[in-house]
């Protein structure tokens, strides 16, 4: 792939990126969130098209109008979400969409052939799973191996693995590495995308680093090291930081004690959040930040642990419980969890506090409208009127509606999960100003963000997460993109 460029509305995702891959080679593709890794691989897999640049396979230029063409050329992608069907067995999944048939025009499934060939392929990469096992009986790791078998049974010569180990325990990851090495020996070219730099040190023959949509550098096998990778990822030389928890300035408003989330049930998290403070939570996608936020705010599962507000342990079993105690969440998925898009600005803003506008269960409509108009003006929500459906608003204004919803309740703790994702620059600044004001007024603010600049600029302290655990808490004076990244890829 040479000089690949791709722009999306408002951003240049890839700027003249070069990438090459040889048979029998494992190349790691590394970079921060948003560095362009996924975009580059989507172009290679024919899922999206590059604006400019060329792709050559075996020296021949190729065009890839769709994913089918990529598959024909022997390119297969193993996604983070495995695209397999739970109720089919292993063979059924391996042959999904190209089942062998028998019986001529009757087109009956040739199950015997499916099973035999699947078993053969499984044996080839040294995996012992019966081809008749229903997929749902397999572990996440085994399902991933089925995806790989599916790819190689389609004669894939190039295999792209996107964060294959993000949901696997480390022992299963080892098994996966063995399989990948086996494939390398037989000449398959493998692109390995991962945030786990340790794995890359172990596995990769070469590491290609992207930064802000450009080539940041390539490391040969012997040159791959954790520090070199981080340095290329953030673009500067990095001082080694020693993670340590700062002594809290005063009594904590919110204390999280030994909390375990549903996604990382083996990890206990403890964290203090102080009055009038913005606590940033940094980390890469999948580090467990959202799960932590949702557990605190009562919307996500909490396996165990205490949430202590002003020294009193709270019984939080639902969002309603958390809200009653003044703990509110601005969720990451705005359209699904933040707003009821078809309803009006007015109806959305008053949703959590409707009873306060009601007498005998009936809503006082003028009081409601007055309050909403005031909130909307305060937050400069740009909408045709407060009766406009939230769906018609821009992302930034939708986010302000979510904020207005909570500000009316005067929350003690407000948790923002990626509050400025998909928000334009102007609204972003306003949301930052609001976060600051909230903290100054005495609220405890938690700011989860993948936007490094945002985290560094807006936080008083930063907790960094990796693989479900907090790998360090940095005071403001020591918050730099480098120090955070160092902890985030631990």
């Amino acid at each position: 792939m040479s000089a690949i460029s791709k722009r999306f509305p408002g951003v240049v995702a890839l700027d003249s990126v070069d990438f090459d891959l040889a048979a029998g080679e494992i190349v790691a593709l590394v970079g921060e969130n948003g560095a362009g890794k996924s975009t580059l691989m989507k172009i290679l897999a024919g899922i999206i098209r590059a604006d400019s640049g060329a792709i050559h396979i075996d020296g021949t230029p190729v065009t890839m109008p769709g994913p089918g063409d990529a598959a024909r050329l022997g390119i297969a992608v193993i996604h983070q979400e495995r695209e397999l069907i739970d109720t089919l067995d292993v063979a059924g999944n391996v042959f999904l969409g190209r089942e062998p048939t028998r019986g001529g025009r009757l087109r009956l499934l040739d199950r015997r052939r499916m099973h035999a060939e699947t078993q053969q392929q499984l044996a080839r990469i040294g995996v012992q799973i019966p081809a008749r096992t229903p997929l749902r009986d397999l572990s996440a790791a085994q399902q991933q191996l089925v995806s790989i078998v599916r790819a190689i049974s389609m004669n894939a010569r190039m295999l792209i693995l996107d964060e294959p180990t993000s949901s696997l325990p480390s022992t299963d990851a080892e098994r996966l590495f063995d399989v990948l090495r086996e494939l390398r020996r037989s000449g398959t070219a493998i692109v390995y995308i991962s945030h786990r730099l340790k794995e890359i040190e172990i596995l990769a023959d070469r590491a290609v680093v992207l930064r802000d949509g450009r080539n940041a550098g390539t490391l040969a096998r012997d040159a791959i090291s954790h520090d070199r990778l981080v340095q290329l990822m953030v673009g500067r030389v990095v001082d080694k930081v020693s993670p340590r928890v700062e002594a809290p300035a005063g009594p904590a408003v919110l204390r999280i004690e030994r909390l375990r989330t549903g996604r990382y049930p083996d990890v206990e998290i403890s964290l203090d959040i102080h009055r009038a403070e913005v606590l940033g939570i940094a980390g890469l996608v999948g580090a467990g930040r959202t799960e932590l936020a949702e557990a605190i705010c009562g919307v996500g599962p909490r396996r165990s642990g205490e949430i202590v507000l002003d020294g009193r342990p709270l019984a939080i079993h639902s969002a309603r419980d958390a809200i009653r105690h003044g703990i509110c969440l601005v969720p990451e998925d705005r359209r699904r969890c933040g707003v009821v898009a078809p309803m009006s600005v007015r109806e959305n803003v008053t949703l959590p506090a409707l009873s306060s506008y009601a007498r005998l269960g009936l809503i006082g409509r003028s009081a409601e409208a007055t309050a909403v108009r005031r909130m909307a003006a305060e937050l400069t929500v740009k909408a045709a009127s407060i009766e406009s459906p939230v769906a018609t608003l821009s992302g930034g204004n939708q986010q302000k509606v979510v904020l207005a919803k909570w500000l009316a309740l005067r929350p003690r703790v407000l948790v923002f999960d990626e509050p400025t994702q998909g928000v334009d620059v102007g609204a972003k600044a306003e949301i930052h100003r609001l976060i600051r004001t909230l903290a100054q007024e005495g609220a405890a603010v938690v700011l989860i963000s993948s936007d490094m600049e945002e985290i560094v600029a807006e936080s008083d302290r930063v907790a960094v997460m990796h693989d479900g655990r907090i790998t360090g808490v940095l005071p403001r004076s020591r918050c730099t993109p480098e120090s955070i990244m160092q902890l985030a890829v631990a």
Binding site: V299, S318, A319, R320, A322, I323, R324, L329, P331, R336, C337, G338, V339, V340, A341, P342, M343, E347, L351, P352, L354, S355, A358, G361, L362, I363, R365, K405
Partner: protein
């Protein structure tokens, strides 16, 4: 009044004008009374089912509830000699109770509404036939519960009672759905249950209460219908009522995806269906075509609605 309501109302008025023009009988007092009674009867349980549909659910059990409660009402009054007051209270409580059971299974245990209420449809029909020993139950000469019969099947100043009751219930339902905290939560849950939960709404309770309302209104209808027909044959009484209710709600602007719909729309939808049936009657269309006419008109309405919605969406995108 929403634009959708206006559309349904317009369709309703046009239909009435056509029927009136084609058959002068349509506007006769006797016919209007008859249609009014039917609109009242069907409108009441349609509102209940419509509220369930607003949550994104469905209630298929109302017809069988009418049969079961009709049979039980007759037995309480005639065979067991219960006074009218307690009998009425028991029937209403039973209706609400069955609705609560549906609500528990659907909202709390997360069973699918279609399955739960389909089982209700089968169960209560079977129960009705069993308790009645599959024989028709009636109300005899009606001694001792005259007031209840009058309240359910009589007239006030020439207006049939079912229609009067529908008007009262519609006003209350309008307040509940369009003016109360519960109604707002109902619509929010119907549109987006996840965001509602994140906003601290007790979504389980909101959904369950919708089924209680549906069960209760089915019970009210059951009393009215039982006294109107004056005989309850458990195998056929109330057959297809759930489909009338769903049709009324959908014609009236409810979306089966939830979140959409108005009480006024449902009432007009229910009225529209009865006028259609009346049309089949008055215009000497073979009554065997009754359902076919209804199906054709509803389908035409749904297609028109979809076409209009798509066009307005396109113009919205165009403006941007």
């Amino acid at each position: 009044m929403t634009r959708k309501d206006l559309g349904v109302l317009l369709l309703f008025v046009v239909l009435c004008v056509i029927v009136a023009a084609a058959s002068p009988q349509f506007l006769s007092v006797a016919n209007l009374q008859n249609v009014g009674r039917l609109v009242g009867t069907y409108g009441i349980f349609s509102i209940g089912v419509g509220i369930v549909i607003m949550t994104g659910g469905i209630d298929l059990s109302v017809g069988s509830i009418c049969a079961l409660l009709g049979v039980l009402l007759s037995m309480m009054l005639v065979e067991w000699g219960w006074p009218a007051g307690p009998a009425l209270a028991a029937v209403l409580a039973l209706g609400a109770g069955l609705g609560a059971a549906h609500g528990f299974l659907i909202a709390r245990l997360r069973l699918q509404p279609f399955i739960v209420t389909l089982c209700g449809l089968l169960l209560y029909r079977g129960a009705a036939r069993y308790v009645a020993d599959d024989s028709t139950k009636g109300f005899g000469t009606g001694e001792g519960f005259e007031w209840l019969r009058a309240a359910a099947a009589g007239h006030v100043a020439g207006v049939p009672m079912p229609f009067v009751i529908l008007c009262v219930i519609a006003v209350v339902a309008w307040l509940v759905v369009h003016r109360s905290v519960y109604g707002r939560h109902l619509i929010a849950v119907g549109h987006n249950e996840e965001a509602s939960r994140y906003s601290g709404i007790r979504t389980i309770r909101v959904v369950a209460v919708a089924y209680v309302i549906s069960g209760l209104l089915a019970a009210v209808s059951a009393v009215i219908i039982a006294f109107y027909t004056n005989s309850v044959s458990p195998a056929s009484h109330g057959n297809f009522y759930e489909l009338y209710a769903i049709a009324a709600a959908v014609v009236g602007g409810c979306s089966l995806r939830g979140g959409e719909g108005t009480v006024l729309g449902i009432v007009i939808g229910a009225a529209l269906l009865q006028v259609l049936r009346n049309l089949v009657n008055l215009l000497d269309i073979p009554s065997s075509l009754d359902f076919a006419v209804m199906g054709a008109v509803i389908l035409a309405g749904a297609i028109a609605d979809q076409v209009i919605a798509r066009r307005s969406r396109r113009s919205l995108v165009g403006r941007r």
